[in-house]
Assembly symmetry: C2
Homo-oligomer: 259 residues x 2
């Protein structure tokens, strides 16, 4: 059996999930914590590579003994989150743990992932959202929320999303299926907008380019059905700007029910 | 005329509002920013002294030329927040500015203040609330929300709140009028509880001792009407623990309408 853990992290002080030499990464922290708990080296395999500054509320990763497809663990499952959290910095927390089969893969077994991008609309910046939401001061047209939602609906479906992929990405097939995409106002803060998008997979910078494009719709620079033309063009230059990483959250990851 | 500014700050990295030598305070930052904007020394007088680690969403302070009851300002009022924010660190922001009479006092003119204390109920800690909510893992009785609300209602009214004041405080009259006190679940997060309290004034640590006492009610250690006996005792030892500062927010300050 592999161990599957659910992780939340504030990505502000990390160069993303993926291990890289000489920089602080979430994967390195979790791998070090696993070694302290189990007493042997572990492989920690994540569901995704989040970028520098991106946050996660429902990241998933498998933990196995280094070089093996499984792990032997004498600690009761329900005690594992606390054991991890005792060895992790306070901007990373393990929220749950369960066993999955040796065949399970944290990344390749993913059915869908949901991201949320948080925007703070206001004249002045907010001290509380400085690491967690994009501050927007640009003028929006009156019906911007309806417009953003209409535009977001055009993302839904199976499309080649080359226009919404960072230039230089080495991806052979940029076809992805977007299951849901919508923009809502936060229920406890009228100044916070949330873009929520679920897909079977995401290209590099895809959500951040989608948001940059929706902002052009909100500003009245792009029509709501202009999204279709941008998708059809398969040209990164046709889409909007890439918004910064600090508003982005990996909200949840869905795996098959039978794992 | 005095200048009245509305300020929000994340208090995590500050030793409170009030200027003290050799430590980082919000008042020192705002005073330094005012000097840069106006070109002369200013007095910045706050509505309250928030403790180390306490946050504010609606703090108010007057700005006057040093030693005077007024200020001469050639910058248009609507441009002042941006002018301040250009000189303030990103955990402090000025949200608004207006003129008030020379007789106005940021602290003594206050009609009422509202504080919110934020609690995160969950088995594991949250990386996102680590500086902004108290993490609670203790077992609560089933109807804890109703119980906390019933108990909070007993705070409302004019009482001598000596039992809810830090020991050693030098206050002659501990009588305060609590206008509202309630506990609600955050509309966008079922794991977040919010204690909201409005009063004509607060004693040192009053909100934090109220919350510590309400937690005893939630844990079933104290009955909901036990609050009356604690108030009547005028004895700090009868009330609950003082919870930490990082869950506390000065939400808003009310001044008379005619200022």
């Amino acid at each position: 059996m592999k161990l599957l853990i659910k992780i939340a992290y504030d990505g502000t002080d990390y160069c993303g999930w993926q291990f890289q030499p000489n920089v602080r990464t979430v994967q390195a922290q979790v791998t070090a914590a696993a070694k302290k708990i189990f007493g042997f080296d572990c492989d920690v395999t994540g569901c995704s590579r989040t970028d520098s500054g991106v946050h996660a509320k429902g990241f998933h990763a498998t933990v196995t003994q280094k070089g093996k497809d499984n792990i032997e663990c004498s600690i009761p499952l329900e005690k594992l989150p606390k054991a991890f959290n005792a060895h992790l910095p306070d901007d990373i927390a393990v929220l749950g743990a369960r066993y999955v089969s040796d065949e399970f893969h944290a990344r390749y077994s993913v059915v869908s992932k949901k991201y949320i991008y948080k925007m703070h609309i206001g004249c002045e910046r907010s001290p509380f959202d400085r690491h967690g939401a994009l501050h927007i001061t640009s003028k929006f047209v009156e019906d911007y929320l309806d417009r953003m939602n209409d535009a977001a609906a055009h993302f839904v479906g199976t499309h080649d999303f080359t226009s919404f992929m960072a230039q230089g990405s080495k991806i052979e097939d940029a076809t992805r299926t977007v299951l849901n995409a919508s923009v809502t106002v936060s229920p406890n803060d009228p100044d916070i907008l949330l873009f929520e998008v679920e897909a079977d997979g995401f290209l590099y910078n895809m959500v951040r380019i989608m948001v940059g494009t929706l902002l052009e719709v909100a500003e009245g620079k792009l029509s709501t059905d202009g999204i279709d033309g941008i998708i059809a063009a398969k040209d990164r230059k046709k889409a909007g700007r890439t918004v910064p990483p600090h508003g982005l959250y990996l909200e949840c990851v869905n795996y098959p029910d039978n794992i």
